[in-house]
Amino acid sequence: MKKLRLDPLSLAGLACLLLLVLPALGSLVDAAGDPDAIVGPRLQPPGPGWWLGTDNLGRSVLPRVMEGVGTTLLLSSAAVLVTAALSAGFGVLAGYRGGYLNELIMRVVEVLYSFPAIVLAVLVAAVAGPGQLAALASIVLVTIPLMTRLVRAAAVAVAGRDYVTAAVISGARLPRVLGRHVLPNVAGTIAVQGTYALSVGISVEGGLSFLGFGVQPPQASLGVLIRQGGTYMMAAPWLIIGPGAVLVLAILSINVFGDGLRDRFEPRETRSLV
C-alpha cells in the first residue's frame, strides 16, 4: 500500500474539521463556560464574558455552539458508521452475487432513493418520535441509498478481476472471497462516500432539529441553535450567525477533505495502468 498523501487543500479541510471537533470533545467547552448556565442579560451582542453574545435566556452562545457541534458531529458520525456497515454488506453482496439478490437490494434502495431527504426524515420522526434516535435513523436512511449503489458498482468491477476468479478456482468460499478480496478493494469507495455522507448527515440533522423533530432542547445541536436563533434573527443576528457559520464550515471542510480522499483513492486504478 502506498502512503496516504493528500493535497494541501484537503489537509486544510481536515485541520479545520479537527479544529471544530476537538474543542467539543475536550474540556475546552468547560473553559468557554457552561452551555446551560445563565451568564448575563438576554440577547446581548458579542462582548467580554460572552464572545458570541447571549441567547434569549441569557446563556452564552459560544459554549452552546461548541456543544452543538459536538452533538451534531457525534450523531452524524454514528449514523455514517451504521450506513457504512450496512452499505458495505448489502453493496458487496449485491455487486458480487448479482441475480435476484442484487435486484431485491437495488429495488429497495431505489425506493428509498426516490424520497426527498427531509420527507423521509420527517416520516421517521413521526414513527419513532422526535429525538436523537429519529435523527440518527433519518441520516442512515437518507445516506444509505447512494452509498449502497456506489459500493455495489465498485464491487461489480472488483468481482470481475482475475484475483477474485483465482480465489474462486482455488475453492475459496463466499466469506473469504468477500472479506479478503472484494471488501478491501472497495474500502476506498466506502471511505470517500463516508465523508460525503457525513456532510449530508450534518445537514439532515440540522434540518430535522430545525424543524423540531431531531435533537430536543435544552441539549444543543447546530440545528437546535439555528432554530432558536431564527426567532430572534432581527433583534440578535449573532444567535444564528455563530451556529450557521460553523455548520457551513463543517460541511465545507468535510467536502474538501472528501474530494482529497476521492482524488487519492479513485483515479488509482486508471493511474496504475500506465
Binding site: 478481476r161 482475475d162 476468479t165 474462486v168 482455488s170 475453492g171 475459496a172 468460499r173 479478503r180 478493494n185
Partner: protein, 245 residues
Amino acid sequence: MILELDDVTVSFTTGPPLRRRRLDAVRGISLAVAEGETLGVVGESGSGKTTTSRVALGLQRPTSGTVLFDGRPFPRRRRDLAGRIQAVLQHPHWSLNPRMRVGQSVAEPLAVLGRPAGSLVAEALEQVGLGAGFAERYPHELSGGQRQRVSIARALITRPSFVVLDEAVSALDVSVQAQILNLLKDLQAEFGFSALFISHDLGAVRYVADRIAVMRDGEIVETADAAAFYTAPEHPYSRQLLESL
C-alpha cells in the same frame, strides 16, 4: 484423461426482452486432456476460447454436453475440488489482489484448504525464479512478468493435477513471454501437471503444447498433435493461421 469435454454447448441469451437472441459461445465442442499433457487451444477473439476455459474450470455449466474431470462430473460444491485445479489468468495487472502481500496471495490456496504454509511459500517463489524476499512485497511493486510468476507460484503451490493457462503470457513483452513459457515447461517437467493452454498466439502455443485444438466461431475445426499440426495443418483456417505467423 484428466479432463474430457464431450459435445459441449454453452448458450447465452442477449438483447432486449421480446427480441432475445440465443447466442452459442461454444457449439458442440469435444476435447480431452491426458495426464501430464498440454493441450493448446488457439483461435481469434470471440472464437469461444475463454468460454472453453471457464467450462474446463467448472466456472461455467454447459447448456448441453458433458464435462468430466478425472473421470467424474464436476461436484456441486467447488470446494471438493479445492487445490486440484488451478489457473493462471490473463491480466497481470489484476491477477493479484493489490491489498495483499505477494506471500499472502501465494499462500491463499493452502489457506483455503486449511493447510499450513510453512516454508512452502518461500519454496514456491524460488521455483518461479523470484526468491523468498518477494513474499513481503505488494503487487504494485512488481513488473508484469514478475506478477505472472507470482500467479504461477500461487497456482502450483497446491500441486494441482490440472492447470488452465488462459492467455497467461499474452499481455507480456515477447522476451518476458519466452522466459515465462520456459518456466512453465520446466515446472511441468518437474511436477507433471496437465495443462490447458489457451492463447490467440500460435507461436506461444507451439512452444508448450503437445496437442493443438483450433477454434473458430465457437467450434473446434481441427485437433492434431503439435508436430503434425505445424508441418501439415489439415483445415484451411489452420493453414491461414499458420501462414500469418
